[in-house]
Structure formats: structure tokens, C-alpha cells
């Protein structure tokens, strides 16, 4: 019975596709987004549905490589590949695509993607402090608002933005509460279950419904009977590049090798869960700008909040080792691994930096590394 609840999340994607097919005919608008930096509150305030389009599968990559360089991050190749082969229903449904200049690869890919769909690119500053960066980001959020208003021929009112802010804040809170259940020993969710819940939630058609599902799941998980033996499993914190179903191999291998990914500090996981727009601001655009500029993505320089968050997560989740996963050619996460290593080693924990792509070709060599790291954990 209880398994159904995590399984329900696996069905969200397909259910949303079906619903969108219907609702699009009735004039419902869909906005495809590629990053947590996109202020989805604006999309919701316009009565449209935001949907994440980041590619997490290997299949469309060969098609992408007909245009993009091979030596590029698999997430960008997979995202573009789904778009160009028209094999992602959500890309197909999208009336507007919002990109942002998080990294060199993405920003240049978005230029090419304009051949397929209208793409609005937000110029993301790479400094999180107030000042010129914040001013620029406020302007960019205003431009996005204007773009959505023009594209969908409507007006986005402040009160609608505040309503959306409340809804997104509720969603973050619910996701954080679910994620925090894994602070317990034994953790109620395996790494794959945690990933399924947080990743699939991003495809929900109705955030109110999602919040309700998350609250129900929380109750189920709180009363879940977990095999006490699993308390002995090493507790792993995963950080680095985004992971989704399709690119879950490291999470799966950790599970298979007898450990548990108890938490994920990446943009599909915990990275943004503490960040909420400040309700006490006068201007919702400023509140959104401040919230989003604080996202500790490695594209920010410097990026101290990520290190602070990692330090806290190691303690809160009683992590016994940290895996930092970098997708091939993601320079910012690859280089920032040096800083992450220091944070982890200062805590006296084993640290493993993995560089991989979406293919299964390196699974055996990943296994040796992960297994050796698990053998380093003192029990």
C-alpha cells in the first residue's frame, strides 16, 4: 500500500502529458524552462504551466551531436537533442522557452534553439551580491514579465505574483520536509526513491495538488516500517551537477553497492529548498530577484553559500562520505570540486569526485571507485 505513494510520483509525468494535451486545446499556455534560475512564479502568475525541459537521457544525444560539439556536457546535448528530434512532449507543448546564461554551453545552445521555438534568454549575472548584479537581474525578471505578457496577451498583476510566491514557497517547504525525513536513521527513502519524488514533482501539472501529494507522502513515510538493518548502510551525500531519472546511474550504483544516497545537494535536490521569496518586500519582482540570485550554482563566482550549505547538510544528514558528480565538460562544477573537497575533508570524511556522462560505458569503473570509497568509511 505505502509503496503506491512513491510510485504515484513516477506517474506524474505521464499524467501531466495527458492533461496538457486536453488543456492546451482549451487555451492553456505552457512555458518550458531549463533551470532553477527561471522565476517560475511569473509563469504561474500568468496562469501558465512551467515545465522543466532539462534532458536527462542518453537517447537523443547522437542527434544533438550533428549540430553541437561532442565534447559538451550531456545535459545540454540531451536537452537540445530532445528538442531537435521532437521526442519530448513537453518541448512540443511549450509556447515559450525560457533559457538563461548559466554557462557558456547553454547560452550558445539557446541561440541555436531559437531556430526551433521562440526562446527568451535571461542574462544571468554571476555574482550573488546586491548592487549592479541585482539591478541587472531585476531588469531581466521585468523583461521576462513583459515577454510573457506580450506573448500570452495578458497582464501579470502583483497580487498574482504574490499568490504564486506563496504557492512555490509551499512547494519548497513540502519538498524540504520530505527530504529532511532522510536525516533519520535508518533513512525512510532510498536514493532512487528520493530522486523519484523530487525530480518527478517538477513535472506536476498543478502545484497545489503536488503540495498535497507531498504532505500525504510525508505522513506515509513517517509511519513507514524501515528494515532496521538499513541503519547500517553508509550514508552518502551527493552533490554536483543535476541528476534526473535517466541520468541516475550514480544514485543507483550507490544503492546497489549497499549504501544510501540520503541527500542530494544539487539543483534537482536540496540546493534551492531553503530559498524563498521574501513576502515582506514591497515589490514582488525585487523579492524574486533576491531569491533567485542566491541560488548556489557553480556558475556563481564566488559561491560561498554552496560550501556553507554542504557543511550543514553533512552534519544534518550525518553523511559518512560525499560524492561530487560532474558531467563531462561542466567546467564550473568540475573546478569547484576543489573547494568542495576541502569542505568534506575538513569534516574528516571520504570524498569522491566522479566525472561521467549519461552513457553506461563507465559503470564498472564508477563501481570500483564508489566501492573503494565505501570501504574507506569507518564503521
Amino acid at each position: 500500500m505505502e509503496n503506491n505513494t512513491v510510485e504515484q510520483f513516477m506517474d506524474i509525468r505521464a499524467a501531466t502529458v495527458a492533461k496538457m494535451l486536453e488543456e492546451k486545446e482549451r487555451g492553456m499556455k505552457v512555458v518550458g524552462i531549463y533551470c532553477t534560475f527561471c522565476p517560475q512564479e511569473l509563469v504561474l502568475a500568468a496562469g501558465a504551466i512551467p515545465v522543466g525541459l532539462c534532458g536527462t537521457r542518453e537517447e537523443p544525444i547522437p542527434a544533438a551531436e550533428e549540430v553541437l560539439p561532442r565534447n559538451l556536457c550531456p545535459l545540454i546535448k540531451s536537452s537540445y537533442g530532445f528538442a531537435v528530434t521532437d521526442t519530448c512532449p513537453f518541448f512540443n507543448f511549450s509556447d515559450l522557452i525560457v533559457g538563461e546564461t548559466t554557462c557558456d554551453g547553454k547560452k550558445k545552445m539557446f541561440e541555436i534553439m531559437q531556430e526551433l521555438k521562440p526562446v527568451h534568454v535571461m542574462q544571468l549575472p554571476h555574482h550573488h551580491k546586491a548592487g549592479a548584479s541585482l539591478d541587472l537581474w531585476i531588469d531581466e525578471i521585468k523583461s521576462l514579465k513583459t515577454k510573457i505578457e506580450e506573448e500570452f496577451q495578458l497582464e501579470i498583476k502583483d497580487e498574482d505574483i504574490w499568490k504564486a510566491v506563496d504557492l512555490v514557497n509551499q512547494e519548497k517547504k513540502a519538498l524540504k520536509e520530505i527530504s529532511d525525513l532522510n536525516r533519520n536513521s535508518p533513512p525512510p527513502m532510498s536514493g532512487l526513491e528520493l530522486l523519484t519524488v523530487v525530480w518527478s514533482g517538477g513535472f506536476s501539472f498543478d502545484k497545489k495538488e503536488l503540495v498535497q501529494m507531498l504532505e500525504e507522502l510525508k505522513k506515509t513515510l513517517e509511519s513507514r516500517e524501515v528494515d532496521p538493518k538499513s541503519a547500517k548502510k553508509p550514508r552518502i551525500l551527493l552533490t554536483g551537477c543535476p541528476v534526473g531519472l535517466g541520468s541516475e546511474k550514480v544514485v543507483r550504483l550507490v544503492d546497489e553497492l549497499g549504501a544510501t544516497v540520503v541527500a542530494m545537494e544539487n539543483c534537482t535536490g536540496y540546493k534551492t529548498l531553503e530559498l524563498m521569496a521574501d513576502r515582506s518586500k514591497d515589490d514582488p519582482i525585487v523579492a524574486l530577484a533576491e531569491k533567485y540570485l542566491n541560488i548556489p550554482c557553480s556558475c556563481m563566482s564566488p559561491n560561498p553559500y554552496r560550501m556553507e550549505l554542504l557543511g550543514r547538510m553533512i552534519d544534518d544528514f550525518n553523511a559518512e562520505a560525499v560524492i561530487d558528480l560532474t558531467w563531462q565538460a561542466c567546467h564550473t562544477y568540475n573546478i569547484e570540486s576543489h573547494e568542495v573537497e576541502k569542505v568534506v575533508k575538513d569534516k574528516g570524511l571520504p570524498f569522491l569526485h566522479l566525472e561521467s556522462d549519461y552513457s553506461s560505458s563507465d559503470e564498472e569503473s564508477l563501481k570500483v571507485r564508489i566501492e573503494a570509497m565505501l570501504e574507506m568509511i569507518e564503521k
Partner: protein, 253 residues
Amino acid sequence: MITVGVDIGSVASKGVLLNGEKRFSTVLPTGWSPRDAGEKILSTLFRESCIGRQEVDYIIVTGYGRVSFGQADKTVTEISCHARGVAALCPEARTIIDIGGQDSKVISINEKGKVLDFAMNDKCAAGTGKFLQVMANTLGMDVAELAASEDPSETVTINSMCTVFAESEIIGLLARNISKGGIIAGLHQSVGKRVASMARRLGAREKIVFTGGVAQNAGVRRALEEELKRTVVVPEGCQFTGALGAALLGLDI
């Protein structure tokens, strides 16, 4: 207590049987079936030591073939096994450089032989035994002959890290009548550079011990010493370190 350690590598499979103070070891080419290689290792060890399968307490298997081998009481990664084996052979060791057929790794250990950190080569064959094997073929010699044929005074820098490109580079050098000895010294330098940079990343604390099949090549050892500007020790039976470590880990169960 009698324990056996089997290390099924990509090129060679090694086995060590420990019976109190007595130690038996054997090595065979792995061939295409890691499972068969493991079986052969076991039967050779049992024959040579006159010990029957039922007398053995634990069989610990390591190496890339560890998963396919059904008879293990436990499988352990090469990293932990090398650490344990080296700690027994050379207690002062703090850094292990292990170069095998398809992997090269650097392992940092403490005084108890506990792994503190490790680094491994990525997917590519650069800096591995495979790289040397391919180059030896190109030069028309056996990989075991490389060290004796090198001429470090005429070292030619090999620029390509990729095995396939390095092969073409060598063909080009041979066409220009560059000395074979100088090319071989350059190949050793190439492996040495690649692995030394991994070792420096981990700190390369002394004593540095070199294990794995490639440790039998004195030219690579020379190149590593030049790159690291430190003495690099090759223990006797360097190829058996992983298997020995596995057998010793059997004693700890």
C-alpha cells in the same frame, strides 16, 4: 587459518595462498574469461600448496573480474587490497602507485594501511600497462623487453596521451629514424608524467611504493622517480600485492 587472495586483472590474474607463515603465489594471463582465470588460479594454488579447497577458510577476490567470479567469500576493491598488501610488505609506505593493465591508481595510506584517499585514471588508457603493450607491439618487441631497451640519454618527448594517437606519433618518429631506445624512454616518461601528476594531487607522501604489473618495468620506475624527485620503491613480488592484500584481508574477517 588458511586464506586465499585472488586478483583478477584485465591482463594477468594473480593468486596468493596464506597458510600460517607459508605463502604460495601464482600468476596467469587472464585471457577472455575472468571466471576461468580465477578457477585456474585456485587449482594451481591448491596443487602447489597441497591444500584442499575444503581446508581454506576464506577466499577473497579482487580486481575487475571479482564480480564474475562465483567462488568468493567476499569481494574487495583493488584499492583496499593494495593498501593492505603494501602495508604488510613495506610498513613505512604512505603512497602507493599501482599501474596495471587498464588502470593506474595512486593510493594514500596511513600507518595502519588504511586508505585515506585515492585517485584513478579516467576512461582512457593513457598511463596504463595497456598503453605500453600497444607501443611495444608497434616497436616489434615484447612489453617485458621495453625497460632493457630504453636509452634515457636520448629521451624523445611523446606528446600524445591517447594510445591510438601515440601509436601514430611513434610510427612517425620511426620513419624519421629516431632511435628506438630514445622513443622507449619517452614512452616511460609519458606514463611517469601522467601518473606522477595524479600522485602529486594526493600529496605523494613518502615512502612511495610502486606495485602492479608495470612496476616490473624499471624504466617506468626511473621515470616516476625523475618526475616526483623522490625514491620510488618496488617491493619484491610487486605484481602480487593486490592478491596478497586480499589474502591478508581474509585473516581479518
